[in-house]
Amino acid sequence: MESHSEQEKEKQFNERIDRGDIIEPKDWMPERYRKQLIRIMGQHAHSEIVGMLPEGNWITRAPSLRRKAVLLAKVQDEAGHGLYIYSGTETLGVSRDQMNQELLSGKAKYSSIFNYPTLSWADMGAIGWLVDGAAIVNQTALAKCSYGPYARAMIRICKEENFHHKQGYEILATLMTGTPEQKAMAQDAVDRFWWPSLMMFGPSDKDSPNTAELMRWKVKKYTNDDLRQRFIDRTVPQAENIGLKLPDDKLKWNPDTMHYEHGEINWDEFYNVIKGNGICNHQRLKARNDAHDKGAWVREAANAYAGKHAEKTMAA
């Protein structure tokens, strides 16, 4: 075997990326590519896990058995999403323990959207329609990313997100045919979740230091602003369709660009939530830690059972 210098290997790696090759766990990759993927995939997995909390808040108060079954199924899907992505991240050489620890200690980041409270039943509609709607746009792009395990997890996830998206819209559409109070509740939820949903795509391209590198490696295929625009363009007509008003006076169709123009996003709010000053940052972290601590006896019992069983098998 000939020995390649790191530089030579990196050159070959870049050529593979340019050809559209998919990178698999055992393939050589630059350390920086590995680090970036661990960061992005870890944050994504944590977001799915923490994302269960705002909706879990309403499971016991869902207005009908049908809505309850649907919400349960959706939240369970989010747990699955977290697990697909965690296992994909582990192929890069980071352990589940380590990722868990980083989430529980507050070191890890997750999507800032989940640090907003869910104040009414209509928020379940707004989250499904807007938050999962934004997630679909992001994840559809990631399904074509250059790292195989991540792309495969995204394909699986995208299939499930459509249900999340539609059930949310159905909740709002139903409320919008209801009493004035119900309509106001739906509108209020959308007023609160619209801007944070736009922030889910991350900072504007000019303030996004990682974008160029991630696009070079085809981890990202589109910029944050492109994806945000795509989300806005497909969401505005859906809002109009059921009589919801999106809380942005500057929102208007531009027939020349064939896109909607929108108002300025409040990035100070975004960075403030990321820094840990969102309404629910503390509460979310505490809920995760409580769940982990309270589940300790289950993990111990399962370990003990597995240990005993293994002994018996050995003896037999």
Binding site: M1, E24, K26, D27, W28, A73, Q76, D77, G80, L83, Y84, S87, G88, E90, S95, R96, D97, N100, Q101, L104, P149, R152, A153, R156, E160, H292, R299, A302, N303, Y305, A306, H309, A310
Partner: protein, 94 residues
């Protein structure tokens, strides 16, 4: 610190009987029964599988991508293993 991370299992799903098993992903579980249950909950919430395999990840041996060229080289020069290598003047084969 969290200790005792459960072992990792690779999960293979078969869509319906007769179909090949396909790698779906992996799960952590303390033993094979729980690995199967976790695999079902994570990878088949919508009947994606009618049968599941779980295998401890440490028991899987993979060829190395860096040696792929040499490793798979032996089949490169054996085009006579393919039917279109043969001349069959006049006859029709389906």
């Amino acid at each position: 610190m969290i200790k005792n991370e459960w072992p990792l299992w690779e999960v293979f799903t078969q869509k319906r009987s007769g179909a090949p098993f396909e790698h779906a992903g992996s799960v952590h579980a303390p033993d094979k029964e729980m690995a199967l249950q976790n695999a079902r909950d994570v990878y088949s919430r919508r009947n994606e599988a009618s049968c599941l395999w779980v295998v401890l990840s440490e028991y899987i041996t993979s060829s190395s991508p860096e040696d792929a060229e040499a490793f798979f080289e032996p089949s490169n020069d054996k085009i006579y293993r393919h039917p279109n290598f043969y001349k069959t003047p006049g006859a029709t084969f389906e």
